[in-house]
Symmetry: C2
Subunit: 406 residues, 2 copies
């Protein structure tokens, strides 16, 4: 008997949940399941800004793949995907090649810098464990350098965050909490430190409820964050950025620019010849790619339109996890022979943005607004629920966030 082979590319939210579900629903005699990932760990992308700020160690954010995947049920291949050849049902890896009967593409996002000069060379992005801890070290290095120069350079103490969306706002919130610790560690007057958020739209968190946006800005400004809204980042250099606000250029000396204003789907998708919309694969109702009945897409590489708003659903962890449940169900059906597939129906349960460990804002079921302490608790409950889903109580105990009162 020829078992179908299922290959899952990427161990982000989408790929990981898909694999865990398949591991549970398919017996080892029913299918060969292979998971391919660059690292031997999964990480919670939504926690990386905390690692980057230095408020949470990255080992709390990452999860060893073999803590969740049973290696006697799933083959794990630690390798980098180079390209996909959907016509021949093959995937080329850096160190080999894989064939598949069913493919799940969960290759995630990459930073989009829109051709803004200097961003690729001089700005950091919060896209992986490696990147996040580099940002942490870069900030610490500049603080350590400050008292070692004859002419203290205030640009070492200025951190610019491009983008007032979710990631940018959550990151400045963590930075605001981190700065007093950094100042103590390196004997620096905290009034010399600047955290500047630059956002092109007239307000940060565009699309969020205005009352909550105001609450967030007040909370962050009280902790020293400066906002430059309606301002475009025009150029990034090693020691400064140039922004444009009200038609006028402004230069801000800084050694640390973090770009959190744009992501796009992994460019492998487009380069592999899939039909794309905004760089993503606009999937069918059952999460399959338009032209291939055996290729599913999950997470940030998949585009699903929200009929109500006429815009795509945002690339969030929540959506990726829900997609993964549909994908796992459908792959299992096809691989095990029933052939019945279900359609993906996202349910937005709510959105909570943290503003540091001690404050948050959110909108939950039925558009109820929450903020402050209750919102921080909800944020942690959401994070913990994911861990429970992914790896059961053991993983929850190991990696969960229970420190609601600190």
């Amino acid at each position: 008997m020829n078992k179908p082979s299922i290959v899952v590319l990427g161990a982000g939210y989408g790929g990981m949940v898909t694999t865990v579900k398949l591991q549970k629903s398919l017996g080892i005699n029913e299918a060969d399941i292979t998971l391919v990932n660059k690292h031997d760990y999964h990480y919670q992308t939504t926690w990386l800004h905390e690692n980057a700020a230095g408020t949470l160690h990255h080992d709390r954010t990452r999860i060893a793949i073999n803590d969740v995947i049973k290696l006697n049920k799933v083959n794990f291949v630690k390798d980098t995907v180079i390209s996909i050849n959907p016509k021949e049902n093959k995937v080329r890896l850096k160190n080999g090649e894989l064939s598949y009967d069913y493919l799940v593409i969960g290759l995630g996002f990459e930073a989009a810098t829109f051709g803004i000069p200097g961003l690729d060379e001089h700005a950091f992005t919060i896209g992986s464990i490696n990147r996040a801890r580099l940002i942490r070290e870069h900030i610490e290095y500049n603080f350590a350098m400050y008292n070692n120069e004859n002419e203290p350079n205030d640009a070492r103490l200025t951190i610019v965050v491009g983008g007032g969306g979710f990631t940018g706002i959550e990151f400045v919130g963590e930075l605001a909490n981190r700065v007093p610790e950094l100042c103590k560690e390196y004997d620096i007057d905290k009034h010399k430190v600047r955290i500047i958020n630059v956002e092109g739209a007239p307000t940060v968190l565009p699309g969020f409820d205005p009352d909550l946006v105001e609450y967030a800005m007040n909370s962050l400004e009280a902790r020293g964050v400066e906002f430059k809204t309606g301002a475009l980042l025009k150029e990034c250099k090693a020691d400064r950025i140039i922004i444009e606000k009200d038609g006028k250029p402004e230069e801000i000396p800084t050694m640390t620019t973090v770009w959190a204003a744009g992501v796009r789907a992994n460019s492998i998708v487009e380069a592999s010849g899939f039909e794309t919309n905004r760089g993503k694969i606009q999937v069918r109702e059952d999460m399959r790619a338009p032209d291939y009945d055996n290729v599913f897409v999950v997470g940030d590489c998949a585009l699903v339109m929200n009929e109500e708003s006429g815009r795509p659903f945002p690339p969030t962890a929540q959506i990726a996890i829900q997609m993964a449940e549909t994908v796992a169900h459908n792959v299992k059906s096809l691989a095990a022979g029933s052939g019945e597939v279900e359609r993906f129906e996202p349910k937005i349960l709510g959105t909570v943005a943290s503003l540091g460990h001690d404050d948050a804002i959110g909108v939950v079921l039925n558009n109820r607004k929450v903020f402050g302490f209750m919102a921080t608790v909800m944020k942690k409950v959401i994070d913990n629920r994911y861990l429970l889903k992914l790896g059961g109580p053991g993983l929850l105990v190991k990696k969960g966030k229970f420190n609601i009162f600190y």
Copy 2:
């Protein structure tokens, strides 16, 4: 009644012990005592290599001056000394000027780079809390960067230490202990890391007992340290060094060069017109400068010849502390009017060099050799004894090293 004013410059081992002794022996009606120091803390220079390696936090190494000095008995001036005018009994500070009746110069050392090209620009020195924590951050930053570049650059994982004397050897010992932690933190294969010690003499720790030197080299080599003895550091660049061994040049790619092969007295001493020998003031028997009866010198700025060897006593903490006791006694005698001065007679009680937290070598009373566990305990006892002398049991409990079994 006109109280004499005593000014102590520098809160290193010499200046600090002098001030503490004077504070005890002179009543507030007998003299005005002023201590001038750049920082509001004293630090144990002999522990800085641990801060630089990242094996001990710098807050363990530094001691707030007002933890030891009673501010109702001693005026503390946080300022930087610019120059001394001994003819007019004045000291110029960055933010003011002081007059004195008696002066104690304890301005310590600075790095001597002997004109080797690139050392001033590209090498680090372990000379202060600020420098030490910058080295720690520089190493961490390079480890963090390693997995973020398309072409991993092994020079980021190579640390070159120039000088196989006391500081250089103690530093590589700490680094050898630190590397496994760094590799775990940044997901790096520890076989890629190199720690290289470069020493011009045919052996490291020149002057030390050959058996102990062999023991030290074996201990360090077993933990991955490479030695280049009989090798001269010819040039330092941002991304490599050039050494010369057996007449042949050799290039070592490295992003981190730490220069621990030369110190000289603070150059303010020479610039202020004192008669100097090797940059230091060759003091009289009672620790006074040759030409000025009211100027004492203590620590690394003072040169005292060892009649037996015909060479100067080495600039160690042990000698500085002993000098300070003589200086404090003599200043007190002159200020309080008795006029009796004693001569400085150094007693070398022993010398212990650590090789990381778990190994050490030393020579103690009567030239007895010690190594291994017993030597590490002795090292800690010596350090603790100093704390007890400086600040009593309270300071010992706060900053002492009691972790002999880890």
